[in-house]
């Protein structure tokens, strides 16, 4: 695998974030916060008019991008800063690029800038990641 500084990661795209999957994640996370389940609660809190995706789900999209960009790689570090919400029905796209490549023993350690963007609203997560790929 030939990896160079500046290489773009393979974007991971969800055309429409599913409110149904938020119900599943409420169970996975053992967190029944109604802002993820009931748009009326979101409206009442003045946070918008659609259900809000769970933050860890948004991080999972970025992990999918790392897996797709570096098949067989292992995530060593991931640092995500949450800038804004993702809502049900949003189209999301992850993005990232390689910032450093180091050879360590028989492995390649790849550092990246990563993020998540919502169509029409801009970046909602920014951060960094390190992935190790066995040579």
């Amino acid at each position: 695998m030939n990896i160079n500084i500046g290489d773009a990661l393979t974007p991971f795209i969800i055309e429409s974030v599913s409110p149904e999957s938020m119900k599943d994640w409420a169970v996975f996370l053992a967190d029944p916060n109604p802002i993820h389940l009931d748009p009326e609660v979101v409206k009442a809190k003045g946070l918008g008019d659609r259900v809000i995706n769970q933050g860890p789900t948004n991080v999972a999209y970025i992990i999918n991008m790392l897996h797709n960009s570096f098949p067989g790689g292992t995530i060593e570090e991931l640092d995500s800063r949450f800038l804004d919400n993702v809502y049900g029905g949003d189209r999301i796209e992850t993005f990232g690029n390689v910032t450093d490549v180091k050879q360590v023993d028989n492995n390649t350690r790849i550092s990246c800038e990563i993020g998540l963007r919502v169509d029409g609203r801009g970046d909602v997560i920014s951060g960094t990641a390190t992935v190790v790929v066995s040579n």
Partner: protein, 147 residues
Amino acid sequence: MDFPPAPDIAGTSLSGTKPYTISAEENRQLCASINATPATDGTAHPIYYYIATQVGMGQTVGGLCAVCDFDVEVGPMMAGSQVVFSRPLKTGQPYNVTGSIKSITRKKSRKLGVMDLMVYDLSLSLPDGTLVLTTTNSWVLPRRELA
């Protein structure tokens, strides 16, 4: 500063009381929900770093908010999440969760008014004590009643 200080809760233990195990079936469901293909070698999706530590810690989300003297109904917001993996997560493997609240800082934000920034550390370990990962999460707790 014209508002009371944040509660003195740094150091509060969040260690779990029983191991957390990632179910292979739930891992499949989770992967399906985010258009990911589950691994065939028993490796769990890495986002379980967050799920396993949150579900396996010694507090529910509501309980952790209560420790912070914060009503969960107001709605905590994630500000950041960091993880360092020492090894991949596996389905069917029991993990112990340990950790504590690192800090809570009260400040005034232009967007939210008065808010607390609460930071906590959690670790996952194998039953023999081998470290699997450490994570640091930060939550924003809006304190509009103090604005």
